[in-house]
Amino acid sequence: MGSRSSHDLETDVAIIGGGTAGLNSAMAAAQAGCRVLIVDKANIVHSGAIAGGIDHFMAFLETGEPWDTREAYLGWVGSVARGAADLEVQEAVYCDELKEALERVERIGVSLRQPDGKIFRTAALGQPGPYAINFDGKKLKPKMAIEVRRRKCRVLNRVQVTNLYLHDGELAGFTGFDIRSGDFYRIRAKAVVIATGNTNRMFNAQVGNPFNLWYCPANTGDLHRAAFDAGVALANMEYVRMTIVPKGFSTPGFNAFFGMGAQLVNSLREPFMKNYHEMGNKAPRNFIVWGALQELKEGRGPIYMDCGHLKAKDLEHLFRTLGIDKDTLPEFLLAKGYAKDGAMIEMTVSEPMQARPSEVCGSGIRIGRDCASNVPGIFAAGDASDQMGCLHMATAGGFAAGRHAAAYAKKTAHRRPLATKAMAEEQARVFRPLERKSGSTYREFETIVRQICSDHFGPVKTELSLKAALEKLGRLDAARDELKADNLHELMRTHEAMNIHAVSKISATAALARRETRFPPYHYRADYPLSDDENFCGLMVIQKQPGGDVTTRLDKLRYAG
């Protein structure tokens, strides 16, 4: 590793995580006239959830159809994300921003249309009408990366952010290290937007490989953990999200399959979803996962995605779309021997991940209508915030977050200082695993965390199981000081593993406080198997207090109807 340098940088607005949301935030902050620095642990040309492509953008388009309005959309959000979506925030971060977001995507060179120039939308996930614009987003991430360069944003690729620092209760800056050179960064900013996605690798994966995941395995809750330690309030952290994936390969595709009319069948060739929800295969995702889990548990598995009844042109569209969303999925299906015509594809329930309970909210930093957290100077967007989820909200809300962060930076006269002692301590902490000659590896440590989470809350939870998980996760604290890394790649993974461990504690603690079931199986408390709107219709907010105590509170949410 030789000599490692360190660098001191300053900016107006820093974007931590240059994924879908973060790059939109960067565009907005630059447009507002701020100096912008984007920091990502990978390279923003292909990083995060949509590194390999994306295929659906959810939108209401005011076409005159009764379901195609802001009110109908919010009605849908209120019904499928009841108790998790704060509609006042959603109106501001999504509805008010949507028109411009759609125009922006097309302006940077990604068409939302089919080759015939028309918008083609499909319905699934409990939607009252077809909200999901099907499009070819293979190049969306590279095009956004070009756009932020065009807007003169500065980019630090391959820098993993390790901690956030406050001064007198307000943001001062953050630290990070270059995963290839080992250079250490101290960065002061007037405002930051945290956009580092959700937390993956926390639960056992279907064929035992923790990188064979539905969501991006590089997103490991690094900034959920850092923000939490800095006193930032988090919400929706109790949820454990799953989907339906091809057996053997955890990929997206749910929306494409069900949007085009495919159906799940059990081994008796029975379509079973109507037994679990009146909308059948068009039900919200958690109901489909619940139905699939019951079929498997009751011995009617394997389950299959039946596409046999689809028209040839719809099948063609479906398979093309699957390959846009997950580049390697079509060849995987071929390698498994599925013929395109009338395929019966064996499916299963994916690994759980710590994330939002619905497409239309997030899980993480509690934000208000201005995307601000409770700590002045810290803003959040995308999957890392408690209110934004999926492409449509990361795009629309990411931009809103950047604009609000810029406004805050502009009225902040001075950057706050980073304490020299804290910087020296963090630098020593970050690199310590490289100095250890013996100890455990991140692989071993992470495997234990995953096993504990899977055994005790992945996904079925009770007070007893959560307490057992917290006790075991607590006992692992000592092992954090024994982790060793042989090189910088392993050093990055070691910090990720420690963050996954920390987030799993936050998640279990929040789950303990929600003494009801909501969005089963995403928060299924076997000891409180029913939903209790009277006491729990709202956000479970979890926060570390200045003295170090962790507290939870419920922010109640109200919905019409």
């Binding site: 990978a42 292909h46 590194a51 293979k138 391959r158 064979n212 053997g248 390969f249 390697t328």
Partner: protein, 66 residues
């Protein structure tokens, strides 16, 4: 092995190394090498960027056999 690089086709342009979101590919001299195959997310970014067609995918038995 998930992403597989055909060394005879690789011209050492480094793009796959640069853009892999999981830091799986590293240059070794003039050739790109899949150093952490177990950590490949099968996202296809490396293949999309490779102008030489040097990247292909070989799904492990664990994925195909279950």
């Amino acid at each position: 092995m998930p992403a597989v690089i055909d060394a005879s086709k690789c011209n050492g342009c480094e793009l796959c190394d640069l853009y892999c979101p999981l830091d799986v590919i590293h240059m070794e001299g003039e050739v790109a090498v899949v150093r952490y195959p177990d950590e490949c997310w099968h996202c296809g970014a490396c293949r999309q960027e490779c102008a030489r067609g040097a990247v292909s995918f070989r799904f492990p038995l664990a994925m195909l056999g279950v």
